[in-house]
Symmetry: C2
Subunit: 291 residues, 2 copies
């Protein structure tokens, strides 16, 4: 198939340094991302947030790409920046956008290991996912429908996903996760090379395990709506764990336990991610399926 | 000895949630901190930074208590707030300040476990340190002379120190470290009770191991002064490790290694703390001594 341009983006959240520094590294020496048959664009999506080492200046950029927001942008920084990015890499929804695929680099304080967060349904996207799972057996795949409509950076291209790695604190670079993320991106570019060369790619026929988004779970709160508890120490750091009815999931500040009380066992993901305190969720719940 | 008032402070850095939420908990139910023989004050030192979930608004509050800054405060938020706190808990350097002891609650993205950071030289301070080491064998003691003169929150009282726990990301509560910190504070208040009752405290005669501050080590940087490397994956998470000449300590973005090149072996502390990227150090070096 025709694949002319792909974009690797980082710094959508300015305090997620893995992507910020990978993009810096490749901008300085584009050798590893320069491939035959297609062009690779590199972009720091949120330069002001990177400068401030904050997730965002005015609003989460990775929730700013809905069609409505792009058509009627507010006056704040991320709304304006989303429109600029939409011009550079999109525009969203047209037949011939500037890039065919966006891979957006993220990190998380949750112990998500090496993960893909996929909202796009396209065949090319899922062929890439299958290929990466073959190359990186430790890779997890989370099919995400989160707190809002698909307004992620990668939603402005016809194909794409986000890479999420953790656990790494905001504002911190971890060598292990930096090079693991780089490895996944190299595999992805290998995959694009094969696609543009028309090579048969047997890895795309594999079955894969996918964590399919089901729900969001908020922290325990007191009568004023203030957070009144923490992720239970038995669940902390155990992203992808399967929760059964009665398993402890929170501990209130007073030490008492709160248990998982659903009849259906589900897997806990994004457990105790710093940025989700303000969004009001302590973890997401997902069903494990085979695709 | 006479000990009339102690202060437990938290949220000096607004994104270090362990202290923020412990203070909240005790403000709601002061039972555990209400002891016989002395008064316990509780204070959120940096309410605006807590609200914003940032380390500080304008400047690091925990570097704002030098005599010069308190005498000639600048107009920004933390300078003003330092003066307010100095009035509430100090003033620094007088014979009869409002509180006798300040225990300031911190957390770190470094894997420092349960640690005390002690700059004060007073006998009461070190008696308390010895007592806590007896009660909490996992406790580490770091005698700190850092990047500036002693301008910490606890420097405005005649006695005091900071509790530092990690690894925990900024903006995150960890149940294990929350309750471990609470346990140390309870031991400290037990100690004050014994002191005010004139009880003999045999724990204060113990020898203790102390990590004595020697130096700061910056990240590798490129010719523009930009960070060009990360803590080596073999050192990451290994705070208190003893470094020998030739041990890898950094990995540049290009993958090459940088080794420790001092003749004298020293221990690495505060390895890869998020807040120290802007201060320009990747770790501190300390000598292990017995006091």
């Amino acid at each position: 198939m025709s694949l002319q341009r792909v974009a690797i983006t980082g710094g959508t959240h300015g305090n997620e340094l893995t992507g910020v520094y990978l993009i810096k590294k490749w901008l300085r020496d584009p050798g590893p991302v320069t491939r035959e048959g297609f062009e690779t664009l590199l972009l720091h999506t949120n330069p002001e947030a990177i400068k401030a080492c904050r997730r965002y200046i005015d609003r989460d950029l990775n929730r700013s790409f809905s069609m409505v927001d792009l058509a009627h942008p507010k006056s704040h920084y991320e709304a304006q920046r989303a429109c600029e990015i939409n011009t550079l890499l999109g525009p969203k929804g047209v037949d011939e956008p500037r890039v065919d695929f966006i891979c957006d680099l993220h990190s998380t304080t949750s112990n998500m290991g090496l993960s893909l967060v996929v909202s796009n349904q396209s065949k090319l996207t899922w062929d890439a996912v299958r290929y990466l799972c073959a190359k990186e057996p430790a890779l997890h795949v989370y099919r995400w429908q989160g707190d809002e409509e698909d307004a992620f950076v990668d939603s402005i291209a016809p194909h794409g996903f986000a890479i999420e790695v953790g656990a790494v604190p905001q504002g911190v670079l971890r060598s292990d996760l930096f090079f693991a993320t780089e490895r996944v991106v190299m595999h992805l570019l290998d995959f694009f090379e094969k696609v543009t060369h028309g090579t048969v790619i047997p890895e795309t026929d594999r079955e894969i395990t996918v964590y399919d988004h089901v729900d969001l779970v908020d922290y325990p709160r007191d009568s004023d709506g203030e957070i009144d508890g923490m992720v239970h120490e038995k669940l902390q750091d155990h992203d992808y764990a399967l929760l059964h009815k009665g398993d402890p999931i929170f501990r209130r500040l007073d030490g008492s336990e709160i248990v998982y009380n659903r009849e259906v066992p589900l897997h806990a993901l994004f457990v105790n991610e710093a940025a989700y305190y303000e969004k009001g969720f302590a973890m997401t719940l997902a069903r494990k399926i085979t695709l």
